[in-house]
Subunit: 182 residues, 2 copies
């Protein structure tokens, strides 16, 4: 992924996919910016879809939040999502991938990434019944926050005080972390 032409194409493609999204990024535009021929992109990656899959991926940065006590984990997870410094590894690729979920490969990749970095390690930490389902529902909540914040840019959430969001939404997430009563 480094020095060669293929690495150059990959770097440029990643930049454009993240900045402009899948539809608005063209194979020809990537080739032009990389100073090579469009056909070469296909030669190296097979298709535009494959180029996307090989250059854009989320690396759920949830590990720090999943360590430590269950108490407060909801707030820690939400704070990570809100952390601007996680934009390049979480928010931006998440948005790009959501908007490209016409492709089954893309959505399977996204589901797998969220499961591997969030749902599965979280399920291992949960007590009580239906730990797997509850962990996946936590992932759904995290996805919902990302959607409101990054995909839809809902002003009511974007302009809110992050501390308030972390407190309220974190409390709601925590509901699924503790075993249900009864």
């Amino acid at each position: 992924m480094s020095g060669g032409t293929k690495g150059l194409i990959a770097a440029e493609a990643r930049r454009q996919f993240m900045a402009a999204g899948y539809a608005a990024t063209s194979v020809r535009g990537v080739a032009g910016a990389a100073g090579i021929d469009p056909a070469l992109v296909i030669r190296h990656f097979g298709s535009k879809e494959q180029l996307f899959l090989e250059t854009v991926d989320v690396e759920g940065p949830f590990a720090p939040a999943l360590e430590g006590p269950l108490s407060g984990m909801g707030e820690r997870l939400v704070a990570l999502v809100l952390d601007e410094r996680m934009s390049n590894v979480l928010r931006t690729p998440y948005r790009a991938m959501i908007r490209a979920t016409d492709s089954v490969a893309v959505r399977e990749r996204l589901v797998a990434a969220m499961e591997a970095t969030l749902a599965r390690p979280l399920a291992a930490r949960l007590d009580g019944p239906d730990a797997t389902l509850r962990a996946h529902l936590v992932a759904a909540q995290v996805g919902g926050l990302l959607e409101a914040l990054v995909t839809l840019e809902d002003p009511a959430v974007v302009d809110a005080d992050p501390a308030d969001v972390a407190r309220y939404y974190g409390a709601a997430v925590s509901t699924l972390l503790t075993p249900p009563p009864g």
Copy 2:
């Protein structure tokens, strides 16, 4: 929206956008299925984007869940989202619109629809501080469930017992409906 050629185009466009999504639906394909010329579609609607905006919309069917007591409202909201009978008014157009959020007009439309049918009426029902923010965070939770269920088709959620999902996720939603302690 009925008899004329424009209505015929609209009906066919709606069908294809909902079934195949924005990118996979072509103006030419809609025209072909409607038995008319592609140029007519643009003549009547101006652009493919405008055609989408005028034919696809979510009608949040949340009103029934928002009536009645706050107690149990979370479960009622989630049950509505899970209700297969709401597919044509909620799930399917929601997925189509999410996947078309490259367009600012589409995402503004979706945010507005969720606010008008869910966040705003809900905020009016909430006690305690930050009612508006909490209502929008509920909308984010609902969006997260729709995303997992419909956009990403996460098997862990799709294949789960809807009663379990309503119970767990509904409880998490309810956390935001009751005034925070302290």
